[in-house]
Symmetry: C2
Subunit: 453 residues, 2 copies
């Protein structure tokens, strides 16, 4: 029963790529999560969660991400037993959502609007700045046969509202439409437009010269085709006038016309947002194969090399892979951990207290302890987060505990017959008489989260 | 771009042991999670989350659970690359919490009171009723050198408050103290008291006869010792009078006396709870090696064979394994998924609506759609969860959508100049004039969760 072990302690170290936060940062993150959830629900999205694992054939059916999947194995499994070998941790929330929608098709009401806030995993090699586990906050709509374009515009609107309220700093949501890219490249007479999309998706990483070389050498485009592709990818604009600019390039196809009309619809529907917060950006392609129309990618203005802070798009076939129904959808995902960790590293988060407690009830003596416990219960019953100092001790020590945890008030139950309660605000050091049945903390003093009902 | 794939769909099936819920059940679960969190915070516990994985040597340092761990492997890893092979999914939240406390020792204020609501994984063989992934809701306190006994009593009080409010049905929290068991067996002259604790822990599973045989045959106890052990394990009581009953068995040791005094303290501190909600039960041992004092195990009264719904206890060495400090702690864990899934299976959960939306704004025509979007934004701005019907359509279809999703109100913006807004309550079919700047839903009509600040 000796509390100190004799053998060498393990000296735990953080595992690279698996972030964790101190309580005062976690409290900020919790406030973010609450705000995100409240906003998703304000727009009528219902919460679901899916298991952390999916069958491997579900995870690897579509997309290029199969090499990033973590598979599960029981530590003590028989070598012959491969019952777990077909399970992998999900790498995003879109594929599990599509599987969920197909599986529970008969129990859902369509359009099915869901939000999903969960951890996802990427089986990356450990390296600085790469998360192997992180939280994503997704909204998606899936409908039978046809999902109204209205939702293509609602997705970036909701994310814009959330990220603005979270004060993450200036950001832009870049919007494009894969039909424009595919239709434009087809109109140019290119046989494999998807290969060109993939090549152009690397503009940020490789730069214009290397992408141009790849287009002409690997994909055998002629010089005029390469020039047109790069011209298209260079187009940016804050409103639907970009549509005219693209038409001005003189390329024609039905798919291109369809994509342009969809992009114009989305930009027009978002015209009331502050100028520059959503921009058309014809270089955005999103690597994943499953996007077929509108695509989004949000970026910090201040950290242009940081990459995506939110992303998503429209997909036709994802849920349809699991059921003989047409179930097109559109969605967007906030990269919560990426954004949060970046702002934490930049020292830009308003760090809160180390405890949600609003009131510490002091218990100076053994005799007063029971009264302190009763007082705490009364305050708690009125919705005030209250703890009793856990043992009779010097008042100085109890005040110090409150200060160090960021607890704003210390409460003193009466110490003698006929005396009253008093409460001390630690920011002003002011101590006043208080009635446990009516006293309330000042608004704004409380740094902690306001959770639940 | 055709939405139906030509090849054979996958027909997704649920993965045994990995539960997921429909939106209307998830909404109930979310309400539970909110309530649990709010109560934990009301008592001053701060939120933390730890990664889903820990280094394998952290997970397997203590306890008997190493064979239930899932390890991670990258799907496409080189056979020579074992960089991930040392990572396992955590099987509980106590070991990660102990590691966290040791690792962040210098940044924490003690006593460190944290709650942690996360998924845990057990690498079990697939079998009916066994979860391989489930959510636990834990509170623990760790302090330097000494953790006041006050917390041993606070743990079951908080859980009692929560489970009562969640209306899970009648339950009892069984309390014991490992010092009593160890001290009693030592006092009987038994050389390996821990082996006896392990044997008695199987009373529920094996029955009294098989345990008695094991005590005498495997552990070589004489008949008087076996009889005393079984007599002790048979003691139950609703208050600290059990302490006298145990003393009456005539066994003596310092550790036994210490354990009895601790048990009496805990029972006395909880004497104000409804009679029978916390009972002393000398058969409770908790399998895990790391408990050293008070232990808890909650059970449904109605489903006696169901096993534990919450559990925990006091541990001395857990965090101390990672740092050269004495960091004793005490904690308790609510088996959220176990309880929730059981009550869902029994049809005992009050199923809510399929959507958090309070108001559906109708959009009968293309001309009225923009006005509907503006009206929805106004209601949302006042904190009312509102969605616009996603496309102009027949009113009948829009009402049907609201009814099927459990949305309580449908809003009609004015259809002509000078007319006013109207709102229809779907439960009463009453339709009245309403001002979007002042109207509010009736309290109690709203089935959805009340999240966030």
């Amino acid at each position: 029963m000796n509390a100190v072990r004799e053998d060498q302690p393990l000296r735990p170290a953080p595992t690279s790529g698996f972030p964790e936060w101190l309580p005062e940062l976690r409290m900020v993150e919790l406030g973010w999560l609450d705000h995100i959830r409240t906003t998703f629900e304000a727009y009528g999205f219902a919460s679901i969660e899916t298991p952390s694992v999916e069958a491997l054939d579900v995870l690897t059916k579509k997309g290029e991400t199969s090499q990033e999947v973590y598979t599960l194995h029981r530590l003590q499994a028989d070598p012959d037993d491969d019952s777990d070998a077909r399970l992998g941790l999900h790498f995003d929330l879109t594929v599990p959502f599509a599987r969920y929608t197909a599986q529970h098709f008969n129990d859902l009401v369509f359009p099915f609007k869901r939000y999903q806030i969960q951890r996802v995993w990427r089986g990356e090699r450990p390296q600085a700045g790469r998360f192997r586990e992180f939280v994503q906050c997704d909204i998606d709509v899936i409908n039978v046969d046809r999902t109204p374009l209205y939702f293509d515009a609602e997705m970036p609107r909701i994310v814009h509202e959330i990220l603005t309220a979270l004060r993450i700093g200036e950001f832009r949501i870049h919007v494009n439409n894969r039909k424009i890219l595919e239709g434009f490249f087809t109109g140019l007479g290119i046989a494999d437009p998807v290969a060109v999309i993939r090549a152009l998706d690397k503009l940020d990483k490789l730069g214009i010269d290397r992408v141009a070389r790849s287009l002409s050498q690997d994909l055998k485009l002629d010089d005029a085709q390469v020039a047109s592709c790069l011209k298209l990818a260079g187009i940016r604009g804050e409103d639907s006038s970009v549509v005219e600019e693209i038409r001005g390039l003189g390329v024609h196809s039905d798919l291109l016309a369809e994509g342009l009309s969809e992009l114009a619809f989305v930009l027009d529907a978002l015209a009331d947002l502050p100028r520059g917060s959503v921009i058309a950006d014809l270089s955005v392609a999103r690597g994943l194969d499953y996007y077929t129309g509108t695509v989004y990618e949000g970026r910090f203005v201040e950290f242009p090399d940081f990459g995506s802070i939110c992303s998503g798009g429209r997909y036709e076939n994802l849920a349809g892979a699991f059921i003989r129904r047409a179930l097109p959808g559109v969605g967007i995902s906030i990269g919560l951990t990426r954004i949060f960790a970046k702002l934490a590293a930049e020292g830009r988060l308003p760090i809160g207290p180390k405890s949600p407690t609003q009131v510490l009830v002091a218990a100076p003596t053994t005799e007063s302890f029971a009264a302190a416990v009763r007082t705490a219960a009364r305050l708690r019953g009125r919705g005030i987060r209250t703890e009793v100092y856990h043992q009779p001790d010097k008042l100085q020590k109890q005040l110090r505990y409150a200060l160090r945890k960021g607890i704003p008030y210390v409460w003193f139950p009466p110490t003698e017959e006929g005396a009253g309660h008093e409460v001390k605000a630690l920011d002003s050091a002011e101590q006043v008489a208080a009635d446990p049945e009516s006293w309330a903390p000042r608004v704004g003093v409380v740094g902690a989260t306001e959770a639940g009902g």
